[in-house]
Symmetry: C2
Subunit: 494 residues, 2 copies
C-alpha cells in the first residue's frame, strides 16, 4: 500500500479474499484473527498493540452498550466523563493499586516542547481520579448512594503479541464506580451488577458463563474481593467476561471520602467498581463463529435479516426488487434491523457469502419464481436450514425464526459448557484436563502456594471460586492433600 | 477537604451555597463559572486544565449526541473507534497539519519504566490515524463514499486559564472523516454537515448561528477551506460552535489513499472532516441562563418537567403524592422526560430553587387545594409565568408549553443576534464596535495584513466570510481603503 504501486484487486481476487482460508477446527487462533479482519470488525492500527474498531464491530459494541446502559440507568446509575490523564500523585495514593498497574502504564512526560513537572498516566482505569472527585461531591447521607458509570477507553501497554479484542494496548469498556453508606449496600451492588452482566452474556450474546469470586492472588489490585464471570471458548481456554469489585473502604480512606450520617457522625463510604469491555465481541466471535464466518445471535446482530433479490442479468428485475423493498419496509416496521442488498455488480452467490461471513442470522431470498408462487426462501445462518415461507407470513415467521436462533445458540453453547467442566480428584487428572482444555473443578486448600504451583506446572489459573458450591466433607486439595476449604475452577485462559 | 477535618455543612449553608452570588449583568465570567459548578454540569479535575463532566452535564451532552448521531446515521455515516495514541511519524506526514498542533500536543514518551523508541501524541484530532487506515480500506469506487464518525475526546494542552466547556486541556467531541470519489461530492458533504450542525443549534439548543467560511489565516491546518458556525454570546463575544472542513486531496496524497475508478484508473480521494464539541453546552449556559440559574430549551433538557408536591409537615401528604405519581406516569407515557421530586427533608421552596438553578423548563405544583379544585399550577422557567391548569388537560398543556418555550427561546436569541450585528464603514467605527461587543460587518480587501492589524489593535478576528453576501460596487476595505473583495464579520471570541 505504501510503495505507491497499489494494484486494484480483480473481482476474482476479491472473491477469494472474502472467505476464510483455515477451518476453525484446524487452526483456531488463525481462524479467529482472519475472521475478525475479514468480517471487518476490527483492524490493526499503526501503534504497536493498538487496534481500530471498524463500523461493523462498533455496531455490535453499540448493541451491548445500549442493552447494559438502559438497564443500569433504570437502577439509578448516571453516566459521566473523567479525564484521560491522571496525575501520578493521585495514582500513587493507593499504593497497592499503583504497584499493580505501574508496569503497563503509558506516561505523558511532555506537552508541546515542555517537560511536565509532574507526569501523567494515560488512564489505565479511573478509580483514583473518580474517587478524588467523589471526595469533593459527597458530604451527607443524602448524597448516597452515588452511582457513576463511564463509557471510555483505557490503555495498558501490551508486551505480548496483539490479539484483536482480547489483548491490545487500548480497549473500549465501561467502568462503574459507586459509593454507599453501608457495607451491605456496597456488597449488594457488586452482586446486582454481576447478575446484570450475566444478563448481557446470556440474553444478548447467548454466551453462558459461570460466576464466582476470584482468589486473593487474582483479585483486582486494591479491592477487598473481586467477583467474575467466566466463559469457556471452543479451544478449551477461558475468557474473563467481566468483573465486579468490592472495594470496601480501601480507597475511601486514602481519598478521605466521608459523609455525615443520619447519626450526625462522619463515616467513610463503602465502594464498588466494575467493568465489561469489547473483549465480549471477541468472545462472541469465538463462541458462535464457524468456517463460513461469524454467527451472530439476533439480539446483538447489527443486521438481523438480509434480503437478497435473486436477479441475474437476464431477468427482468423490476418486480422482484419492488417486492423486496416492500418486504424490507414490512420487516423494518415490525421492529427488525433489516438490510436489502440491492447492489448491482455482485451476484446473489457473492452476497450469500458476504452475509454469511458477517454472521447475519437470517437471509431471505426472493426471485421471480417466488414472486409467482407468493413465497420466499428463508435460510438460517446457524443451521443452514432452508425453508419456503409464504410472503403473507414473512414478518411473523422472521421474528419467530430469530427467537429460535437466539435460543438455539444459547442452548447449544450451554450444553458445550456443561461438557467442558470435569471434576478432578488428583493432581494428575488436573494436569491431563488442562492439556485437553476446559474447566477442572476440584477441592482446594485455599493457599497461594498450591495455586502458584498449578500455574507454573500447568499454565492454568483458578478462574473462580463458585458462590454456591462447597467441598464435601473430607475432600482434599488435589495439590497438597490437605483438607479442601473451597471448590476451585481451574483453566487456562486468554 | 484534604486536611482531614471535613465539616458537614448545615442545612442553612447548603441553602446559601445553592444560589448564585453574582448577577449575569454584573460579572458575566464569574456568573458563568459559578453556574456551571453549582448546577453540577462540570467540575475541575486534578490535572491542570482538565475538567470532569458530571452526570447532569453528561445528560445534556447525550441529548446533543443522540440528536446528531441519528441524523448522520440516516445519511449513511458509520461510527467507529480509533486509537488515543498516534505515532509521531504519522502525525508528521502532513507537515502543515503537524506544525499547527505541535505546541499543544501531550507526548507519551514512556511505557512502564521503558523509554519508547518512537513517541506517541495523545490524540489532538484524528485525521492522520484515520487516513492511515483509509489507505488500507479504500480500493475501488465501490468502497466510496466512506463516511466515518467517531465520538471521543481530544487533548490539547491549555496554557491559559481553564474555562469549563470553552477552554480545557481535554474535551469531548465528535469528529467526522469522509472520503469521496469527486471534489463535488466532498464539497457537498462539507455543506450538508454544516447545515445538520445548524439544525442542532437552531432546533435543539435554540441558539441562532451565522454560517460562512473561515479566512486562510483562521482555517483548519491542512484544510483547503473551513466552514464555520458562529454564535454571539450575551457578553458580546463570539463562540465558534462547529466547523466543517474541505480537505481536498491534501491528506489523500500524503497518505496515498487511492481508488480504482469506474474508468479503470487510480485516483486520489477527496476528503472532509468536521466536528462539534461539548463547548455547545457552554454556549447553552451563556445564551439562555439567568440570575436564578440555567434555562434549558425543552428538547435538550434532561428533565423537561419537575413535579413538586406542595406538602408541609402539617399536611396529610398521601393524596397529594398519589396524584403526583399519577401525573408523573401520564406525562411520562406521553413521551416527556419528567421527574417527581418527592424527597422528604426539603421544603417546596428549596425544590423550586434547585430546579430553577438546573434550568428545568416547566414546573408543575400540586397541593391539597389543587387536589380539591382538580387543578395544578404550571410555572415556566423562561418567563416565570404561573398559570392554573385543569388536571384533565395536564399532558396536552405541558407539551404545548414546552413547544412554546422552545420557540420563544430561539426567537428571543435570534432577535438579540440581529441586534448584535452592526455594519461598520470605517476603522474607527470597527474599533468602537469591538469595544462594545457583537459582530461588526464590513468590506475587506482579503489581505492577511489587514486581518492581522485588526487582531493586534482590537483583539478581534474575522469570524466568517458569509456565503451569500458580497460587497457592494465601490465599497472599500475599512482598514487599508483598497477595494473590498469580500464581506467579513469581525468579533472578539472565546
Amino acid at each position: 500500500m505504501k510503495d505507491g504501486n497499489k494494484q486494484a484487486p480483480s473481482k476474482q481476487s476479491e472473491k477469494e479474499a472474502l472467505g476464510l482460508s483455515v477451518k476453525k477446527s484446524q487452526d483456531f487462533s488463525e481462524w479467529y484473527t482472519q475472521l475478525v479482519l475479514k468480517a471487518e470488525l476490527a483492524d490493526y492500527a499503526s501503534g504497536k498493540g493498538f487496534m481500530v474498531l471498524r463500523p461493523y464491530g462498533f455496531e455490535i459494541w453499540e448493541q451491548i452498550k445500549s442493552f447494559f446502559d438502559s438497564k443500569i440507568k433504570k437502577t439509578g446509575h448516571k453516566n459521566a466523563y473523567f479525564p484521560t490523564l491522571i496525575p501520578e500523585s493521585l495514582l500513587k495514593k493507593e499504593a497497592e493499586h499503583f504497584e499493580g498497574f505501574t508496569p503497563e502504564v503509558f506516561w505523558v512526560t511532555r506537552s508541546g516542547t515542555q517537560e511536565l513537572s509532574e507526569k501523567y498516566a494515560v488512564r489505565p482505569t479511573s478509580e483514583t481520579i473518580i474517587h478524588d472527585s467523589m471526595s469533593k461531591w459527597i458530604r451527607s447521607w443524602r448524597d448516597l448512594p452515588m452511582l457513576l458509570n463511564v463509557w471510555n477507553s483505557v490503555l495498558r501497554a501490551e508486551i505480548k503479541s496483539t490479539k484483536p479484542f482480547l489483548r491490545s494496548s487500548e480497549f473500549l469498556w465501561q467502568e462503574g464506580h459507586t459509593s454507599h453508606a453501608t457495607e451491605k449496600e456496597a456488597e449488594k451492588e457488586v452482586m446486582d451488577i454481576l447478575l446484570t452482566y450475566r444478563q448481557v452474556m446470556h440474553e444478548l450474546l447467548s454466551i453462558p458463563v459461570l460466576i464466582g469470586k476470584k482468589t486473593e492472588k487474582e483479585k483486582f489490585v486494591g479491592a477487598v474481593y473481586t467477583t467474575t464471570l467466566e466463559a469457556m471458548m471452543p479451544d478449551g481456554k477461558a475468557v474473563q467476561m467481566g468483573t465486579s469489585h468490592h472495594l470496601g473502604q480501601n480507597f475511601s480512606k486514602q481519598f478521605e471520602i466521608r459523609f455525615l450520617g443520619e447519626d450526625s457522625e462522619l463515616h467513610f463510604v463503602w465502594q464498588t467498581s466494575w467493568g465489561i469491555s469489547w473483549r465480549l465481541v471477541g468472545a462472541l466471535v469465538m463462541m458462535h463463529g464457524d468456517d463460513k464466518g461469524l454467527v451472530l445471535p439476533p439480539r446483538v446482530a447489527p443486521i438481523q435479516v438480509a434480503i437478497i433479490p435473486i436477479i441475474f442479468s437476464s431477468t427482468k428485475s423490476g418486480d422482484v426488487l419492488a417486492k423486496c423493498r416492500q418486504v424490507e419496509a414490512e420487516l423494518s416496521d415490525s421492529g427488525l434491523r433489516v438490510f436489502l442488498d440491492s447492489r448491482e455488480n455482485y451476484t446473489p452467490g457473492w452476497k450469500f457469502n458476504e452475509w454469511e461471513l458477517k454472521g447475519v442470522p437470517l437471509r431471505i431470498e426472493i426471485g421471480p419464481r417466488d414472486l409467482a408462487n407468493l413465497t420466499s426462501v428463508f435460510v438460517r445462518r446457524d443451521s443452514g436450514n432452508k425453508e419456503t415461507i409464504p410472503l403473507s407470513k414473512i414478518a411473523e415467521t422472521a421474528k419467530q425464526k430469530l427467537d429460535e436462533i437466539q435460543t438455539f445458540l444459547f442452548a447449544s453453547a450451554k450444553k458445550r459448557l456443561d461438557e467442558e467442566i470435569s471434576e478432578v480428584n488428583s493432581y494428575s487428572e488436573l494436569k491431563e484436563k488442562m492439556e485437553k482444555g476446559g474447566f477442572a473443578k476440584s477441592g482446594w486448600c485455599g493457599s497461594s502456594e498450591c495455586e502458584i504451583k498449578v500455574k507454573e506446572e500447568t499454565g492454568s489459573d483458578i478462574r473462580l471460586i463458585p458462590f454456591d458450591e462447597i467441598p464435601e466433607e473430607g475432600s482434599k486439595c488435589m495439590v497438597c492433600g490437605r483438607n479442601a476449604t473451597q471448590i476451585a475452577y481451574f483453566a487456562r485462559a486468554y
